[in-house]
Amino acid sequence: MELFLHQVLAGLATGGIYACMALAVVMIYQAIDHLNFAQGEMAMFSTFIAWQLIQWGLPYWLAFGATIAISFVAGVAIERVVLKPLHNAPVLSHVVAFIALLAILNSAAGFIWDYTIKSFPTPFGNGPLFEQGLMSKHDGGMIAVTLLMLAFLYLFFRHTRIGLAMRAAAANPESARLAGIRVGWMTALGWGMAAAIGSVAGMLIAPVVFLEPNMMLSILLYGFAGAVVGGLTSPGGAVLGGFLVGIVENLAGTYIPVVGREMKLTIALFIIVAVLCVKPSGLFGRPIVTRV
């Protein structure tokens, strides 16, 4: 029982990372209606910008704020420059554009900041949160910030005009345009917000996994998994899904003997596929209803 509790707590700590990423994934899914494979690399790049700012001597929170602002602008710019011209291309071409973005950002980060592993400071301190020491203060802070972002997003989408307009633009672009919403700019805004949230996720994750150009590859995958399990239409579900994936991964690694360390990822993913087979739109997502 002791071991079980410990594993759940450790799972919650890693789950915090995934939840953070899952939230960013869902955010952009709301804005553009598909998954952005370059999301992880965007977050990684933002984190490098933050690291550079801190290296130049900026205090942490100033660098934090500046990075969010830069990421927001960069996200909007990417949408305007890279994806707007593809507006009428088939969906699969968009996915290839994401893959291209991923390759560009990854390689550029490696070129500018090289591939050595860098440590990233944490504002919450490194000591343990409880006596057992399974969850550090940073893990606690990360979970708190994720929940805070979630609350902020909930308020933004539920109670502001622009949030409503964004939801409308994503759900039904034609009708939204007829209602006077500038759909193109709403999409760009969605990209900007997703990039900003991604940058927060990156800066929170970096102290745990260390900063290097490939840090996000597996984390993004877990983020996708969390988002899909929780339901791509529900930010709250995505955060919960992220925690669930973290816990399941840890428990599978501990209790299923064949799994061990290396197969953890595989088992976690298979559990997720199994969940999806029972509940295809995720645990908290709205079922997909199409008009015939």
Binding site: H34, L102, M263, L265, V273
Partner: protein
């Protein structure tokens, strides 16, 4: 009625080009292609022959993916898994059981068909992004499963398996690279003719109907579940055969050759070549093999970035892939031909 199409493939029919009726035009292209393919092994160096062999192998794998995604509308980011299963089937048969390489292809085809069909069953419940994630999970899982201690006895674990390149039979005056090229081309011709016939058949129309409107398709009496999982099987079969050929060509298999990057590469090849285009997959195969090398040529440090930029440019210039571009040019030519004929 609002119908959101995920895959757009329509192009104006290529009725006639510059006064020539389509069959004559097609025959000329076909004969030219055969002549070029036949001369390649005798004029190029072995290394280039090897590369072109690989490109054709990738093209077959992309063709498999295209049958699934392009014609049946099911996403897959996990075809590296079937490629790996095909490759390992061939390698284990040759290394562990001393079976001739000739028999590895049918065996890889059967094994992959069964795997694909079985994976297609749970995939029936998943759509679009969810299916993409499930298949992506498969792609991530395969290298780890191949390395795991359960199957290490067969797969050789991280080390992989080395096999011997087959020599030309009947005392043909070809070295092993040249023979493998000829062999690959022969297999490719069979696979392409098969795919063409499949798509043009009653079954093919059923697949396309399912892609365009599953509800309408089932209303017309098409067994959607059966066709979808069968397509998964056939698609896996094609990719598995490509995998077996790839194992022969490289004469080595190891888990890390089949990471999800291979799956992404196949997907890129599919889109760049043209979704739902059979001949476009050849362009896709060439792109997947050569463009990363070209990018590396430009700049070692920024190879990934150059690759990304090339990819973006290709997508800008040909949003519907190479096949879409060709269709567009042909239809322009047709219009001009008509205008000047008047």
């Amino acid at each position: 009625m609002m119908l959101r199409r995920t895959i757009e493939t329509r192009g104006p029919p290529a009725a006639e080009v510059a006064g020539m009726a389509t069959p004559a035009w097609r025959v000329i292209v076909f004969v030219l292609g055969i002549v070029v393919l036949a001369t390649i092994p005798f004029v190029l160096k072995n290394f280039y022959i090897f590369q072109i062999t690989l490109a054709v192998i990738y093209a077959i794998a992309i063709l498999g993916l295209n049958l699934l995604t392009g014609f049946n509308g099911q996403f897959s980011l996990g075809h590296s898994a079937f490629y790996a299963i095909g490759a390992y089937t061939a390698a284990i048969m040759m290394d562990g059981f001393d079976i001739s390489y000739i028999w590895t292809l049918p065996a890889a085809a059967m094994v992959c068909f069964v795997f694909g069909f079985l994976f297609g069953l749970p995939a029936l419940r998943l759509e679009n992004i969810y299916l993409a994630l499930a298949t992506f999970a498969l792609a991530i899982a395969i290298p780890q499963v191949l390395k795991s201690s359960l199957v290490e006895h067969w797969t050789g674990g991280v080390q992989g398996i080395s096999i011997i390149k087959p020599d030309a039979p009947f005392g043909l005056p070809l070295n092993s690279d040249q023979w493998l090229y000829v062999y690959t081309i022969l297999v490719a011709v069979v696979m392409y003719v098969g795919a063409h016939n499949l798509v043009k058949s009653r079954t093919g129309r059923a697949l396309i109907a399912i892609r365009d409107h599953p509800i309408a398709a089932s209303a017309m009496g098409i067994n959607v579940s059966l066709y979808k999982s069968l397509t998964f099987g056939v698609s896996a079969l094609y990719t598995g055969v490509a995998g077996a050929l790839g194992a022969l060509a490289i004469s080595f298999v190891a888990p890390d050759s089949f990471t999800f990057q291979l799956a992404v590469a196949l997907f890129v090849g599919l889109v760049v070549g043209g979704v739902a285009s059979i001949s476009g997959t050849l362009f896709g195969g060439l792109f997947v093999l050569f463009v990363p090398n070209i990018a590396e040529h430009f700049s070692k440090g920024l190879a990934g970035a150059v690759y990304g930029v090339i990819l973006l440019l290709v997508i800008y210039l040909m949003p519907t892939g190479a096949a879409g571009l060709v269709r567009l040019i042909v239809s322009r030519l047709v219009q001009q031909g008509r205008a000047s004929g008047r």
